[in-house]
């Protein structure tokens, strides 16, 4: 089983401003959404998990070993992360080479890496763009390339930093499928999101970050029913909850079909 145990995690980029102020979390099994306002420390937090940054205090344990005993390169075999801005991640001149780069660097054979890359590109719908230069594609397509590049590495932990950014309806549906497949493969999925509808519909657990602290951590259903905490964290409730509240329907809803079913019951009673 894959798990991450985070104790008393502190981090600051500069002396005078602490970005993370003592985070304690135990991450395992459940697909987990991380939400919070811009500047709350979400991206910094996942960069620490992946070993791209080192804690100023506290520790992160990956399956029982302290991540500071790994190099970032060793950790890359186990923990994959898709950057928020795909331009920070992509540097090859062909889509296929970009997606094969990670697998090759964690020791996959050429053939295996190619197979994994092709499979991953199929999942994101770019299997017919193999020879293109990523920078000739759109930003949302580059985001999909960066996702494929991490999927191809087949890591135990997969972290997404705002995967739905710039995605249309079809793109979001694709990402939903990818996440549920990762879940069924027993991967630990973490995802930073600003899209509350997507978070509510897809994830089992939700963690609310606020000014370097964890403000709330629990089942997605409980978290999104807590309007006050969400407001305090500069977030909003998912649209299904907003609709229910506006029309005076009691209960907690995280998906459209749930809300429609409840409305139909209320309507026909």
């Amino acid at each position: 089983m894959t798990e991450l145990l985070i104790n008393y995690l502190h981090f600051s980029y500069t002396k005078d401003m602490e970005v993370l102020k003592g985070i304690d979390l135990h991450l395992k099994d459940q697909t987990t959404a991380i939400v919070g306002q811009n500047g709350a420390g979400k991206t910094t937090f996942v960069k620490l998990l992946k070993g791209l940054l080192q804690p100023t205090e506290g520790a992160i344990q990956f399956n029982g070993s302290n991540t500071k005993d790994y190099t970032a390169a060793n950790l890359a075999e186990h923990i994959g992360m898709v950057f928020q801005n795909p331009n920070d991640q992509i540097f090859k001149s062909k889509v296929l080479n970009e997606v094969m780069f990670g697998p090759l660097n964690i020791g996959q054979e050429e053939n295996e890496a190619r197979d994994k890359a092709l499979e991953a590109l199929k999942k994101v719908g770019l299997e017919d763009r193999l020879e293109k230069n990523p920078y000739d594609l759109s930003l949302s397509e580059r985001k999909m390339i960066s996702i494929a590049a991490v999927l191809a590495m087949d890591t135990d932990v997969v972290i997404f930093d705002e995967p739905t950014m710039g995605q249309d309806f079809a793109g979001k549906e694709r990402i939903k499928e990818i996440i549920s497949e990762l879940r069924s493969l027993g991967k630990l999925v973490l995802c930073i999101l600003h899209d509350m509808d997507f978070a509510a519909e897809v994830f089992e657990r939700t963690i609310v970050f606020n000014q370097g602290n964890v403000l709330l951590d629990g089942s997605t259903r409980d978290v999104f029913s807590d309007e006050n905490v969400l407001e305090q964290a500069f977030l909003e409730q998912p649209h299904v909850m907003q609709i229910a509240k506006n029309i005076g329907l009691d209960g907690i809803y995280t998906t459209e079909s749930e809300l429609v079913a409840a409305l139909e019951r209320a309507w026909f009673d």
């Binding site: 306002q37 811009n38 759109s138 949302s140 309806f169 500069f234 609709i243 029309i247 409305l263 309507w267």
Partner: protein
């Protein structure tokens, strides 16, 4: 008066075989807020570029038809002249930063310097933009040290400071948290009250239905519809054009609940609660 008049616009990027924009015609009145929707690759960004002159002046390619902004034909004028009238906020804020300025304050000053605005006026406009986008406390930071969301605010502020007649925003809130993106919509709505015309490409349909006067739906380079949010989002074939209606409309469609006065589906929270109240 129409501030934007697009007639039979056709455009193809260099070295491609397909029209990115295919015979697009529409008009926009001064002070209107137009929501530009469509699946990715529908032509939203290309249309934003065509309105701001990057198409055809920067991207080149094959061009037909006419784009007039405030009577000025885009194809016949240079980017420098167009930029004084039409402001564009890019989809990726990293592309917007000049890279030649070392503070947010200077970055916002850049456009104004190029327009030759007087120092006193520049300072006033920069301060106002910093205030509007709530980025005052990061004015001395290097733009490239900011988070994606913060940089997106700087990109918007730098264009608003230039006070263009027409402001074009290509998915300006994609990296902002929910309250941050709500703020941007409120700021933009206020600008329309001062007479600024807004064209915004956006995937957040709830926000478009709440704030836009009209919605322009593109698919495969063609204009599919250009109408009120209510009429566009009530279409039965939205999903065929890669669009999911706002949650309110989607729920109302599932319930078969149309508005009694117009026979269309509700598109905002207040409309659906009114309808529920009336019909229950």
């Amino acid at each position: 008066m129409n501030i934007i008049d697009v007639e039979g616009l056709k455009y193809k990027y260099p070295d491609t075989d397909k029209l990115a924009l295919n015979d697009v015609s529409f008009k926009v009145e001064k002070g209107e807020f137009i929501g530009l929707i469509g699946r990715n690759t529908a032509g939203k960004s290309s249309l934003c570029f065509a309105l701001s002159g990057l198409v055809p002046h920067f991207f080149k390619g094959a061009y037909g038809g006419k784009v007039l902004v405030d009577g000025m034909e885009i194809k016949q004028h240079e980017i420098g002249e167009i930029a004084a009238k039409v402001g564009l906020v890019f989809e990726n804020p990293f592309s917007q930063m000049t890279g030649s300025k070392y503070s947010v304050y200077e970055e916002i000053a850049f456009g104004l310097e190029n327009m030759g605005i007087e120092r006193k006026e520049m300072i006033a406009r920069i301060d106002e933009s910093l205030e509007l986008l709530a980025i005052k406390e990061m004015k001395d930071q290097n733009p490239f040290d900011l988070s994606g969301g913060q940089m997106q605010r700087v990109a918007i502020a730098s264009v608003i400071a230039m006070r263009p007649d027409v402001l074009i925003l290509d998915e300006p809130t994609s990296q902002l948290d929910p309250q941050g993106s709500a703020e941007v919509f409120r700021v933009v709505e206020n600008l329309t009250k001062e007479g600024m015309t807004i064209i915004m490409a956006e995937h957040k349909m709830e926000k478009i239905s709440q704030y836009a006067d009209s919605v322009l739906l593109l698919d495969d380079g063609e204009l599919i519809d250009y109408d009120t949010p209510e009429n566009v989002f009530s279409r039965d074939d939205l999903i065929n054009h890669g669009i999911a209606a706002p949650m309110v409309t989607s729920v109302a469609k599932a319930m078969g609940m149309k508005k009694s006065d117009t026979g269309k589906y509700p598109v905002t929270l207040s409309e659906i609660s009114r309808e529920m109240g009336d019909q229950r």
